[in-house]
């Protein structure tokens, strides 16, 4: 019986997961493989799937002769700041949208979303002037504020739908016991909505991590994120392919490692048993 169950799980769950992961990871693995190949092998025809020689030169050059490490640090600071600020702004807003019915609610929700429907390239010029007036050009603050605010509507909408999934009876029970709205949010809703918060947090992190336009225009010398750094490997007359492959392989790791820890919060049944008759 147990063996049958094991086989069923293998075929019905683990094998499909391997297939999907294969799709997800093969391009990245190809990139990683390429980063260990010497330049001469990268333009060989017919192409060789298995490298005939391996070299660490691209990684060494990446770490020693470019500013990549500092760029990773800048990206980490900005992304973590954006997550903190974004969640801090979005959680109360999502709670408000979920628990209250007030005049203008629909319009406000739509309004939030509308201002995010504009392509960012059009907003860059006025934003640049604004940041300059505030003296915030080329600082972490500018990027954190920019990233957090521009992901706000999506974060609020997503969090609202997660908070919606938590029965309002719990809020009312807490408030009958004397809690304020904020206390309810912090002590009741937040723990139960943790999977949603994790999902939105990862979304905020990744969006900030991959963002290019703000990082290009609003920062540059003191604050230089990995997206800008990678773009510097793409020149006018040549592309530093080896460095790009090495950098591209490494750049996916922080978010992946972060999610490795964060996904532990994604265990089911959090609301089960919370509302007893």
């Amino acid at each position: 019986m147990k063996r049958q169950l094991r086989l069923l799980r293998l075929l019905g769950t683990e094998l499909p997961v391997v297939a999907i992961l294969g799709f997800a990871l093969l391009p990245w693995i190809w990139m990683m493989l390429s980063s260990f190949r010497p330049d001469s092998e990268l333009t060989h025809s017919p192409i060789t799937l298995i490298p005939s020689q391996l070299t660490l030169v691209h990684h060494i050059e990446l770490l020693q002769r470019t500013s990549f490490i500092w760029n990773l640090r800048d990206s980490l600071v900005v992304a973590c700041g954006a997550v903190a600020l974004g969640l801090g702004l979005a959680l109360p807003a999502a709670y408000a949208f979920s628990r209250f019915r007030f005049r203008g609610r629909g319009a406000l929700r739509t309004g939030f979303l509308v201002i995010n429907m504009f392509p960012v390239v059009m907003l860059i010029l006025p934003l640049f002037v604004l940041m300059r007036e505030l003296g915030l050009l080329d600082t972490y603050v500018a990027l954190i504020a920019g990233h957090a605010t521009f992901t706000l509507p999506f974060a609020i909408w997503l969090l609202t739908s997660y908070v919606d999934g938590i029965p309002q009876e719990l809020d009312q029970a807490a408030m009958i016991d004397g809690a304020t709205r904020l206390q309810t949010l912090w002590l009741v809703v937040l723990p139960l909505a943790l999977p949603g918060v994790v999902a939105v947090g990862i979304y905020l992190f990744i969006t900030s991590w991959n963002e290019y336009l703000f990082a290009l225009m609003l920062a540059g010398r003191n604050v230089r994120t990995v997206t800008v750094a990678l773009q510097l490997f793409i020149g006018e007359n040549q592309i530093q392919w080896g460095l790009l492959m090495a950098g591209g392989t490494l750049v996916a790791l922080p978010a992946t490692i972060l999610f490795l820890f964060a996904q532990r919060q994604l265990v089911g049944g959090l609301t089960g048993g919370a509302v007893k008759g």
Partner: protein, 313 residues
Amino acid sequence: MNVSTAQQRRVPSQAWGTKGGGRRSSILRPGATPWLMLAPALAAAAILVLLPVLDTLWMSFHDVILYRPRSRPFAGLANYAWALTDPVFWESLRHSLVWIVCAVSLQFALGFAAALLLNRSFAWRGIARALIVVPWALPSVIIGLIWTWMLDFNLGVLNEIGVRLGLLSASIPWLAQPSTAMAGVLLAIVWQGFPFFAVTLLAGLQAIPGELYEAASIDGAGPFGKFRHITLPGLAGVMATALLLRMIWVANSLDLILVMTNGGPGTATQTLPLHAFLTAWSGGNYGHGAALSVLLTLLLLGVVVAYVWRNRA
């Protein structure tokens, strides 16, 4: 999920202490509370997003050329007239529709399947969940370059494997033919975006109480019945929101297409936001770009309004 976890997560009703009677705050009347909770988000959005958006709106009614900063004459509806009478606009719109429908549906299908699978228990589930975000965690420029290279006619690994395995009779210049270019960029964006659905829907699955599944089993429901009557309704809210948001994001995305084909060959993969981007970024005509952006926003707004109106309860 074991019983002790459920117990640990149960509402700690003693956390703030009962003060007898307590404050009956806004359960019945919303009052100022929701606005207070929205205030920080509203303030941030008003300063950093609303002002630039209003500026863009202003630009759409003026003749704004980036390198003529001193001359911004009023143009009325001229920019909009230009946009709507330009056949490139309608072509870009058609491409956008194909782009949105194909990208979102494929991302959703793959992401949903992944979420369902990653919700089950197996030994290496943690690693599997972490690894699924790898495509999503890469910057567009890297994704664009790696897929362009893999799809390359001369030196691309996908063509090589395809020919060796007999799936392709000959190498295909994926991004150089109008018939296959859109498929090529769609492949890249589906790869990039399906983890979003996987993570978002996986989180949504956590809120469905395990007892419901147990009760359904006792009632004799099979896996498909459970899916239809428990999973889908339980996930409906998050699913609808995720789809809506993703649709908006995909509709506005241009990074991948920019890197992979620049809208080409010809204009075969040029979508509306890319057309707006190139008009402004390359052509320097921010008035035209703003008008295109406003039109795109109005189109998306129609969809969002329909969604909000349906769910206004």
